[in-house]
């Protein structure tokens, strides 16, 4: 429509203007909704580079599907654990974990059951599962927690942590705690900034365990014990809370 045609139009008066204006605003509103909605949808997607685990039938990652150059993990030979907690102590010493209530990077859980009038005690070591689809990383508003691109370890950048505690709520493994000294959330990082940084091959907890419950290593390296245990297992391997879809890198077996 050109200007001459417009001039021939009958003036509709100002009475109808507000309605048109409203329509215009509604259209604009829809466009803005689209933009925001795009963002909201984006916020629901998982971390694509960290979810590259396609072995749907098993909890064990398949060769060729490790997203990181070194893909660190741990396997717990659970029935070997006697609950001595030397691992807990070694972790506290190495990583300067505060002594106050609720602060730990690794713990030993205990279950007491009675079978045929005999008390049975079972121990289960737990720590951060360094998930491939880590719920804590997705929810962090400031990227204060992220997957280390070299090792796949979930690490903290303390100065960015606002202390909203969403990562604590999101973690299926209760692996995070508030570190009052750093005034930030803290967690196990497989000793990346302590022992691994010094060139050591094992985490403090794995090195301290007298029963060799914890086997730590690069899941991709065929020469490691963890590779052999995971790829040619003697017994069933499981992970904790597989239903959450977090794709953990800490595995459990008896043996």
């Amino acid at each position: 429509m050109n200007i001459e045609d417009l001039e021939k139009e009958i003036n509709e008066g100002i009475d109808s203007l507000p309605l048109q204006e409203r329509r215009k605003f509604l259209k604009m509103g829809l466009a803005v909704t689209g933009v925001f909605l795009g963002g909201s949808v984006l916020s629901l997607t998982s971390i694509s580079h960290a979810s590259n685990q396609k072995n749907a039938d098993s909890d064990i990652p398949v060769e060729g599907q490790y997203p990181y150059p070194k893909h660190y993990g741990m396997i717990m030979r659970q029935n070997r654990c006697v609950g001595c907690e030397l691992c807990v102590e070694a972790c506290k010493q190495t990583n300067h974990v505060p002594n106050d209530h609720g602060a730990w990077r690794t713990a030993i859980q205990e279950k007491i059951t009675t079978e045929n009038n005999t008390e049975k005690r079972e121990f289960r070591p737990v720590l951060c599962n360094q998930c491939n689809r880590p719920p804590c990383v997705r929810v962090c508003p400031t990227k204060a927690t992220y997957k280390d691109p070299e090792t796949g370890i979930v690490v903290m950048d303390y100065k960015k942590c606002i202390g909203c505690k969403t990562c604590m709520a999101a973690c299926p493994y209760n692996a995070r705690y508030f570190n009052e000294e750093k005034y930030a959330i803290d967690k196990c990082n497989f000793c990346i900034d302590t022992r691994l940084a010094e060139g050591k091959k094992e985490t403090a907890c794995a090195a301290a365990c007298p029963a060799r419950v914890r086997i730590f290593g690069d899941l991709k390296d065929k020469s490691t014990e963890i590779y052999r245990l995971l790829q040619t297992p003697d017994s069933k391997i499981w992970v904790l809370r597989p239903d959450t879809g977090a794709l953990p890198n800490v595995f459990y077996m008896n043996g």
């Binding site: 984006l42 629901l44 007491i112 508003p141 202390g163 005034y183």
Partner: protein, 397 residues
């Protein structure tokens, strides 16, 4: 803008009828409540959030998060009703929409005051939310959108006060959109955590939006009733009709919200993860049962429904009481939701843990909640005193 022109604007908007000793006393009282209450939160920065608040590693979120959610949700509701009146026009609620915009701003201030002392390091948030944003995080979107919403609403309200109707309209639309999406992201914060089956699921963001429509209507009824009560004045027929419309919306959403609550709980008992069912047990017969049955269901849903029927949407005092009870119920409902999501140990069966953790908010947490109520009450009274004429004028554009 010079002081003179500001005084000229306030002379236009202020309601001198409220310059009474009683009003002054009430305003000062709520200012003291605000200062004392929020001081409890400031103590957290001195003595440590972990020592002042009763949150633990296992239950990192408590009453302050639920209070934040309650005020934020109420703000969204008020803003949406106001925007609908402004944009679509023709609704009876248009006449009270200016007051709703103001109260929406005030409610979000109550929310910000609460979250500001709940978060351990808000100063880091100011910087790293901007220079290190995570677009995958619901918290980031929620904070950003609520920030955007309050900015838009403040400009909108300035437009209303200064007579810039077009600016007010545009900002009203943007503000309402940001509020709705922020509310949705707030629901998403909980709904996208598979580790917490009581929260996880597609229903929750819609549930939050429904709650916003419920709390918003209840707040609209209550604050308008109070606005006339403090003036000791009868509502004009058009305001009466507007509040009646808000009452109708409140009734409709009350039904929807009750249905949603019913099915939400039923869904935990027909299958799904044990953690979700055990969390629901906390409400039905466990440590949250009193909160749920007496405060959330009876006081917050059933009695208001009865009052609405008895009032026939005509008796404003009864309707306002229903609105007040709905707000109390919604406050408790947010608390129940936040607590129930974390109340079951994730490693239940190990370490001889109880089926449900025990969480009782600390005195300081109650103090902060009182402070947030102080913010809203103080904001309401100041608004009526300074912008009273703007709230009661029939048309602003």
């Amino acid at each position: 803008m010079t002081n003179n022109s500001l005084s000229a604007i306030f002379a236009e908007t202020a309601d001198p009828r409220l310059a009474t000793p009683g009003m002054n006393r009430a305003t000062i009282f709520f200012l003291i409540v605000t200062v004392v209450g929020l001081s409890c939160g400031v103590l957290a920065f001195i003595f440590g959030h972990h020592t002042i608040y009763n949150n633990t590693r296992e239950m990192p979120w408590g009453m302050l998060i639920s209070t934040y959610a309650f005020w934020a949700i109420t703000s969204t509701g008020l803003c949406m009703y106001a925007a609908m009146s402004h944009v679509f026009g023709g609704t009876r609620m248009k006449i009270i929409s200016n007051r709703m915009v103001w109260m929406s701003i005030i409610c979000i201030m109550g929310a910000f005051a609460t979250i500001g002392v709940e978060i351990a390091s808000p100063h880091r948030m100011l910087l790293y939310n901007i220079i290190s944003p995570n677009p995958l995080s619901n918290i980031w979107w929620m904070g950003t959108l609520y920030g955007l919403a309050v900015g838009c609403m403040i400009i909108e309200f300035s437009g209303i006060v200064t007579g810039l109707a077009k600016l007010a309209l545009i900002m009203g639309v943007f503000g309402a959109l940001a509020e709705v999406l922020a509310n949705s992201c707030l629901g998403g914060v909980f709904a996208t955590l598979p580790a917490r089956p009581y929260w996880y699921g597609a229903q929750l963001p819609i549930y939050f939006l429904t709650s916003a429509f419920l709390s918003g209507a209840a707040a609209a009824v209550l604050f308008n009733y109070l606005a006339y009560r403090i003036r000791d004045e009868k509502m004009s027929p058009s305001v009466h009709l507007a509040v009646k419309s808000a009452g109708k919306a409140m009734t409709l959403v009350l039904i929807l919200y009750t249905v949603a609550t019913f099915w939400r709980l039923v869904s935990f008992y027909v299958g799904g993860p044990e953690l979700g069912r055990t969390a629901a047990d906390a409400l039905i017969s466990g440590p949250l049962a009193f909160n749920f049955w007496v405060l959330e269901v009876c006081a917050g849903l059933a009695i208001p429904a009865l009052l609405i029927i008895l009032s026939r949407l005509e008796n404003m005092r009864m309707l306002a009481l229903a609105g007040f009870l709905i707000l109390v119920g919604q406050f408790v409902a947010r608390y129940n939701l936040v607590v129930a999501g974390q109340i079951v140990p994730q490693n239940l069966g190990w370490d001889n843990l109880p089926t449900h953790f025990s969480y009782v908010p600390s005195v300081f947490e109650f103090g902060v909640v009182a402070g947030s109520i102080g913010v809203v009450a103080f904001g309401f009274l100041i608004g009526e005193r300074v912008f009273g004429k703007t709230f009661t004028q029939k048309e602003h554009h």
